[in-house]
């Protein structure tokens, strides 16, 4: 029985898939404060035009340039693994597969877009890229990509992280990235903060301000900013995950996938695996596609679809998304990557259409599932990944009850070796669950009652 399904380099997908082209109902555009759609010119100082074109593209398939593939070959195609030991432990007739994105040099799926973004920047004539980072995962991925492409990379790392997490900084340095503590004296934003608070440990908000200012004020015009999540072009670059998985499943004779699962945070992890299967579903395939989110922040499972302001002052642009309202306060949970107020617009629209069936999991159940996984498959998952694993186990048990040989696929978004303190808290009984009470939800939703509602455009097919 094959437990590692591999592809050769010449079998790698040569196009990314753009779900925006196939959504049966059109995406609602992001609106500015004046009510008009945000356009490419708004983004031109920040991103190279070739990436902006991808951000707004309606083309179904976008060629992956050979130059990008030549870099990705270092670790791609990534392995598809079959969780045979979990299957046996559960006694399920289901066949469970997972895409291992932990095999890249920086150890996550993030280089899939870091390499692409760096390459397109270079093609546009950009010589230097800036970004921000917390613990350093994205900063190290971009530093790696820039090193391979001969670009300069400057990473503004939140000072408290810079001081506490030296190893990611060293990874960036090894790849030639310049990693400096934020706030810094390099930018006006940093200088302003330091003048008022010279001992500040910094924040992600300050680091983003510095990275963007650094890019847009470069008098040579040869610097741009890069972001590793949320945006459409980021998700596009990640679809290579799902496209590879389809080839690998075919290689072992799987003609049909029944369930596709991913944890839903910023969007790129879930979208990367699932969007190619959403395409199949649009074209008639029967697939259950499940974004998994925490019960404590049920953005997709319980909230309405509405235009929502990003702030209480209501001065920011309106963006159509699933929302809990701008007064929503998320309860604490360890899966940091899943704590978002709104979901990516592409994912939201797919939910509205019924193409995705979101599910919420409580963190205790997720940690229990993660421990079960670690004791069967061996790997220790990141807290975010444990949400997907909890749903996988549920589906595998359901298949056992129904006596069905279902094929279940999910995305292994990373190991949890940097998150062992969360496991410690769980094993010591220090964690509790935070399901959002109905009354809290209703109170939150009252805050958006008077806002313009995004039209619920859907075909009603799913």
């Amino acid at each position: 029985m094959a437990v590692k399904i591999l592809l050769n380099e010449d079998e790698i997908p040569r196009q990314w898939y753009n779900l925006a082209a196939d959504l049966p109902s059109p995406m609602q555009p992001p609106l500015g404060p004046d009510g008009n759609p945000v356009g490419p010119d708004d983004l031109a100082p920040v991103f190279p035009m070739n990436l902006i074109e991808q951000e707004v593209s309606q083309e179904r398939w976008i060629d992956i340039p050979e130059g990008i593939l030549e870099i990705l070959y270092r670790w791609r195609p990534s392995p598809l693994r079959r969780a045979v030991f979990l299957e046996k432990a559960l006694g399920t007739p289901a066949r469970i597969y997972y895409k291992d994105e932990g095999v890249s040099p920086p150890g996550s799926h993030k280089p899939n877009t870091a390499v692409a973004q760096a390459w397109y920047n270079k093609q546009f004539g950009i010589e230097r890229i800036t970004t921000e980072t917390g613990a350093g995962q994205w900063g190290s991925a971009l530093s790696f990509a820039c090193a391979i492409l001969g670009l300069k990379c400057k990473v503004y790392m939140v000072r408290i992280s810079f001081d506490q997490k030296p190893f990611r900084k060293l990874m960036m340095n090894v790849w030639g990235g310049e990693c400096i503590a934020s706030p810094s004296m390099n930018t006006q934003a940093g200088r302003d903060i330091l003048a008022k608070h010279p001992d500040t440990p910094g924040s992600l908000g300050i680091a983003i301000s510095e990275a963007i200012e650094d890019a847009v004020t470069d008098p040579t015009g040869k610097t741009r900013y890069s972001l590793g999540s949320v945006l459409n072009h980021v998700m596009l670059h990640q679809t290579i995950i799902g496209l590879e998985a389809k080839k690998q499943l075919a290689k072992v004779g799987e003609k049909k996938v029944d369930v596709v699962i991913g944890c839903a945070g910023g969007g790129s992890n879930f979208a990367g695996l699932s969007f190619p299967f959403v395409c199949d579903k649009i074209n008639g395939a029967e697939i259950e596609i499940i974004p998994v989110e925490p019960t404590s922040c049920p953005t997709l499972t319980r909230a309405p679809f509405a235009y929502d302001h990003g702030d209480v002052a209501k001065m920011t642009p309106l963006l159509p998304m699933h929302t809990l309202g701008h007064e929503f306060v998320s309860p604490p949970i360890h899966a940091g990557g899943l704590r978002y107020h709104g979901m990516a617009p592409l994912v939201s629209q797919a939910v509205v259409e019924g193409l995705l069936v979101p599910r919420a999991m409580d963190q205790l159940h997720c940690y229990q599932s993660a421990l079960f996984w670690a004791k069967t498959e061996g790997y220790i998952p990141a807290p975010e990944t444990s949400h997907a694993i909890a749903a996988v186990i549920e589906e595998a048990k359901k298949a056992k009850e129904e006596g069905k040989e279902k094929v279940i696929l999910f995305n292994w978004s990373g190991h949890g070796l940097m998150d062992l303190s969360g496991y410690e808290s769980f094993m010591e009984g220090k964690l509790v669950d935070y399901p959002l009470p109905e009354e809290d939800l209703r109170a939150s939703l009252r805050s958006i009652a008077d806002l313009p509602k995004a039209p619920m455009v859907k075909t009603g097919k799913w």
């Binding site: 100082p45 613990a135 963006l319 701008h326």
Partner: protein
């Protein structure tokens, strides 16, 4: 809006979900320079009565402003770029 001042909770630590590593309470209390972290209630309410702590320092309106969810990333980027170009860096 900053209302600094030591607190008996300052040395307690918890994992920051955004940074991905442990931070002391005083980081959440005044890290941003202008206001506490928007997740301060999320991350600390299981450890002590952070709501009462905040109410002693801030009005309800200020707390609502502090804990407001973030703007969408795209909008944040556009606004920051506009601001940086206006100030000239």
């Amino acid at each position: 809006m900053v209302k600094k001042g030591s607190s008996k909770y300052d040395d307690l630590t918890t994992r920051c979900p955004m940074l991905g590593h442990p931070v002391p309470f005083h980081y959440c209390r005044d890290s941003v320079g202008e206001m506490p972290c928007r997740k301060i209630l999320d991350c600390w309410h299981e450890r002590f009565d952070v709501h009462s702590y905040m109410k002693e320092l801030y009005s309800d309106e200020e707390i609502e402003q502090i804990v407001a969810p973030p703007k969408s990333k795209l909008m944040q980027i556009i606004e920051l770029a506009r601001k940086a170009r206006e100030t000239g860096g």
